[in-house]
Symmetry: C2
Subunit: 208 residues, 2 copies
DNA sequence: CTACGATTGTTATGCTATTCACATTTTCCC
DNA sequence: GGGAAAATGTGAATAGCATAACAATCGTAG
């Protein structure tokens, strides 16, 4: 198809998984793959992979499969991670520090470009190669650096207020590590990371 | 209903979200709530919340809604988090440390009970109130402590091998922080935490 | 040069999940 | 005490997603 007439969000959510697997195949110097092989690695049916990709174009060759490098580049382009996005991290506790030090973002299209915290004791401290900035510099600094994405790593009680300030500063994509659902206006995207929620999902299936 | 004849997994996945919101309502000392109010907070339709809950029983009262504390306890029971699950963390880098220090698990039914790492330089080091143990004590220690859940916080290249060892030791629920899909046998549950994947999901919707 | 095996993209089918809509019940206020 | 307002639980209707299946195409081996 290729016409982007409302592609299901659930399909978009799988593209990063495909990208992840393709990245590993590149490391393994595999030149070609198939929907069947990809599906096997990911625990997804080959039909679903072909169907998902068909929303964006024709990337394979019948009889041969997909050129790994080519498909990788195409998906990077679709997801707009063929260039690097600068991000802000708000909250420089244990979690914020772990995020700031994480080396895995760069290869996947992201870079932590600014750190903010409300605690005066942390201001000016260096974490990685960044200096912790006060919250009242949030708007100015995100705009100066062209930041459109932020990660929220503050306690649940403060997360909504932080989100509000980020949105006011022009941030439109939030990755929220605080265990609370955020209310955001139309046009702002939120994703959640809540380890305890994932764990509770699994305990349902465990015998006590 | 209440008969647990194959409840959709996607319903189970929403229960922790409901629980999270109910927990906050308890903090706010709210005594009653409704499917409408809950849905508003979570960005979910009230019909869906009622339908989800109806898989497990009747917890509300017409005209009144749900007693917050009661519904909270009921869902905790359904998810089996009305008692504490001991967990292992494998990989004591920045991420593993942040997980080990995280204070949020206890209130939601979990406790980090053991730390493992393959790096000899880390062995014996104390993190929080735990000592880092070598990988060859993994089976003995998890069995001694009755651990059924583990969090994998090692580089992607080692995650599959670590998962294999954990499963061999009797662990049946894995929370994988490494950016790689794991192959596991029937009966073992896996959940993934991949911040970069969430970020890539959102960049699709951002204008470049 | 031809026949076969492999694999795609896509259409058709079936299944799953969500929303709608309402009978029923409860509370509250006049 | 009675009627209006609020809310649940659920069967029916709708929408969305995943799987199956196949015609078309490609590469290869004989």
């Amino acid at each position: 198809m290729g016409t982007r007439a409302s592609i299901p969000d659930i399909v978009i959510g799988r593209l990063p998984i495909y990208l992840r697997a393709l990245g590993r195949m590149i490391q393994e110097e595999r030149e070609y793959t198939s929907s069947h092989e990809l599906g096997e690695r990911l625990g997804i049916s080959s039909a679903q992979i072909r169907k998902d990709l068909s929303h964006f174009g024709e990337f394979g060759k019948q009889g041969t499969g997909y050129n790994v490098q080519y498909l990788y580049e195409q998906i990077r382009h679709i997801l707009k991670v063929d260039h690097e996005w600068p991000m802000a991290v708000v909250g420089v506790g244990d979690l914020g520090r772990a995020i700031a030090h994480y080396r895995g973002f760069q290869a996947r299209g992201f870079r932590v470009a600014a750190l903010f915290d409300a605690d005066p004791k942390l201001l000016g401290e260096r974490v990685g190669n960044l200096t912790v900035l006060p919250m009242d510099q949030l708007a100015a600094e995100t705009q100066r650096l062209g930041i459109r994405i932020a990660m929220i790593a503050v306690p649940a009680a403060e997360a909504q207020a932080v989100a509000d300030r980020l949105i006011e500063a022009g941030v439109t994509a939030l990755l929220n590590y605080a265990p609370i659902s955020l209310a955001v206006p139309e046009g702002v995207h939120v994703q959640y990371i809540d380890p305890a929620a994932h764990l509770q999902h699994m305990t349902f299936y465990l015998t006590p």
